[in-house]
Assembly symmetry: C2
Homo-oligomer: 183 residues x 2
């Protein structure tokens, strides 16, 4: 893997675990076994540029993952259940939700940096769009589909937060059980 991709990969993980301010450049370059010069060669505008690159990678990865699941199952209900159970598995195995959430970055940076806020907004938008497409295929009206897609995004994101604080996967499981009621 080329150096730039390596940096993005490692930094994405660290940012998700510890938040933006919680990770120093020194920590990143040590984890990558590279030098500071190398990092600033690939990201001349420094840490924030790197963060945005990470958010873009995350965007692609999360989107790809969700799209795949939503293509495999016939209805929104089944797809959502499969998606959440995958989240639960991941959480119970690793104790984190790395790769699926970026709430720490949102709440840290949304009010501090417009570019970062925008990148996060796009990511949520993309996820929501996937849900919505499936909901439309299920026969919902545009308005209904939009509202339900938003509800799904919000409740899943919120449930992730609850799982992290409680160190239990139950919140996600309960959300999964309750989702059909909205459909």
């Amino acid at each position: 893997m080329d150096t730039k991709s390596l940096i993005i990969d490692v930094a994405t993980n660290l940012f998700q675990q510890k938040g933006y301010k919680g990770v120093g450049l020194n920590e990143i370059i040590k984890a990558c076994n590279i030098s500071k010069g190398s990092l600033y060669h690939h990201f001349p505008n420094g840490k924030e540029e790197l963060l945005i690159a990470c958010l873009q990678l995350l965007n692609e990865e999360i989107t790809k993952d969700i799209v795949e699941i939503f293509e495999r199952y016939p209805t929104t209900r089944e797809a959502a259940e499969a998606m959440i159970s995958k989240l639960v598995e991941n959480f119970e195995a690793e104790g984190t939700l790395t790769g699926y959430t970026f709430s720490s970055i949102v709440s840290e940076m949304a009010s501090l940096s417009e570019p970062v806020r925008n990148a996060c907004a796009q990511l949520y938008q993309k996820i929501q769009a996937i849900y919505m497409e499936k909901l439309l295929a299920d026969g919902f009206t545009k308005d209904k589909a939009n509202a339900i897609a938003l509800m799904m995004t919000a409740s899943i994101e919120g449930a992730m937060l609850l799982c992290l604080t409680q160190k239990e996967a139950e919140p996600l499981k309960i959300i999964s059980q309750l989702l059909p009621k909205m459909l």
Copy 2:
């Protein structure tokens, strides 16, 4: 107001806006017009002790606010709608949700500090308990009430995140419209 309360008050605001790592002690003491010695007199164990004190204050304030609303309205549905519309008003007036959320602290610190994680877990628990009590009064079974209370907590918290990233109050509004469906 005594110095200690002042510190907690100012720090709570700053932490909510910029996250834990995003606020330095120097920024806090400057905003309070006090000295470092004074801060460490009241919080000898430093920044983390201060944060936990802030979370406890937040706990009381949020709880008090929610309880008041839930006492004023006869059903969970009406109370929840009133509560969310208050959030919306606050967000549209000030552009922030200070005083109502602490997701930045959760996602930043949950994996780094057990005491902080615990304080956050307690806060969520308390909020959920208020919802649940009302739901039981509405006639739901214990299991149903528990599940719905969790769903409410998660979706509202998630909607706040979405509002912050989008700079719009719509997510909260839509959640409010959709909540009756679950009841």
